[in-house]
Amino acid sequence: MLLTQRIIEVCLISKDGVTPFAVIVEQGEYCAWSIASGRNHTTSQQWNGHVLAAKERRPEEWWVLDAWKEWLDEISQETPGSRICSLMKLERETPGIVIRQPREVHTRLPVGAIASRWRRNRLFERTEIIVAEIAHKLARGGTAHWNSSISINDCESLKGDWIIEQKPRPESDMNFDDKISEIGDSNMCGIAIINRVGCEHIESVKDQWSAAKNILKEKCPCNVVIVKNDSHAEVSDLGCIIGERFPSPVSLAIAVVRSQWYAGCY
């Protein structure tokens, strides 16, 4: 039997828009919550990057996230009526915070599972989920994985051989040389992004990558480009995507998530 669950988002507001940073899922007396931090609710984690991005929020204020976790834990144990009062009071008296009820879901899953899914899909920048996952795989052992089978959480596995290119930020609009330079000057090793490269760009990317690869590998152990190697595309020795499926150099990460979203995987 499908059960109706109510989704409540706690959002930060700023001139840049509304950013959900926590979710409460209710079904009758049952309630679960989740927040935009690392997976482990019991330890302190940094705010998720896109939550911090707006309004000059400061990562050193990680402890405020802990305060919010405690608050969420508290109100999740209240009765539904009492909880809604607490949320209304919160919204009324806490500037910068707004409560939204985006939708109800009809599901057989428990509230905890829905909260967990909502966190994964809404509280994080979707690209970040994928790049963090890949970066984690790459960082394991401290060496670059030129061939790796990638599975994103419990969603559809991204089977194939991949090469990852690291950048300072996803979707940066700097040119390649600038990106290489910035990566080389920093000690970033946790962010990765998958690039699709159009056929018309292959040769130039090969040249650029060939020139930069060794420098990057010295400074950051997992700086590589990802490419999918299947029937629709080939992987060159230098780690570039070749194939008709990649008509433009947009982020594959975004494309993959978008297609999975529309396909109902989330």
Partner: protein, 233 residues
């Protein structure tokens, strides 16, 4: 010391001052009188003025005027780029353990001004971070705002009514309570009158009512230790 959140930092002001002043704005919660709370602004202002005289850790605020009339602008506590949630009743014991003197101050002050609305009206850091942050907020339902009718609130104050459901009543060490009772008992009549009788009307609270409130608070100051005892028992 409690810090407050800067909403916007503007440009430096022209001039050769050594301090180089900068324009900026702070985040505030604006409160206004309503049918349910007809003396909200007055109660907020007077509670703050009283707290400042004693050194109670309450969030600062200022009376202000906007398109909708007179407001009390309560500064958002924390000085953080992301605001803190309020402390719930279950966490009060933890707050009292971490901030025994501050919570004792807030508790004794609440007994004096008849505030039974402290649950969810306290900001404090209870995380592993060592940032010292505690501040009482929201005094709308105190003093003349204890009940929706001003006369009923005055009567309750005169009748030595106490905040029987106060969430800190069983958690604050007695030694700290006694210290803060003495602090309030040491307040002079003149000091209380200066804080309560503003010399002008706010909302529907005129000089006559303000004088009655001062009188009630002086009476409550004199029996404060008994009222605190009665609240804790």
């Amino acid at each position: 010391m409690t810090f407050y959140k800067i909403k916007r930092l503007g440009k430096k002001l022209p001039g050769g001052s050594m301090a180089e002043p900068v324009r900026g704005s702070l985040d505030v919660v604006l409160k206004q009188d309503s049918d349910n709370s007809p003396c909200c602004v007055y109660s907020e202002i007077v509670a703050l003025r009283l707290a400042q005289r004693i050194g109670i850790p309450v969030a600062m605020g200022v009376p202000s005027v906007g398109d909708g009339g007179v407001y009390f602008a309560s500064l958002v506590v924390g000085g953080l780029s992301i605001n803190l949630p309020n402390i719930t009743a279950r966490k009060m014991e933890g707050v009292a353990k971490r901030y025994p003197s501050d919570t004792a101050a807030i508790f004794v002050f609440d007994v004096w001004i008849l505030n039974d609305d402290r649950e969810n009206n306290l900001k404090a850091n209870l995380t592993t971070s060592d940032v010292h942050l505690i501040a009482a907020i929201d005094h709308e339902q105190t003093l003349l705002g204890r009940y929706s009718d001003m006369q009923a609130s005055l009567e309750a104050l005169h009748n030595a009514e106490v905040p029987a459901r106060h969430p800190l009543r069983n958690h604050v060490p007695k030694v700290y309570i006694n210290q803060w009772v003495k602090q309030i008992e040491a307040l002079s009549d003149q000091s209380i009158e200066d804080a309560v009788i503003l010399g002008f009307s706010i909302g529907g609270v005129h000089a006559r009512t303000q004088k009655k409130l001062a009188s009630a608070l002086k009476m409550r100051r004199d029996i404060l230790s008994k009222m605190v005892e009665s609240t804790c028992s």
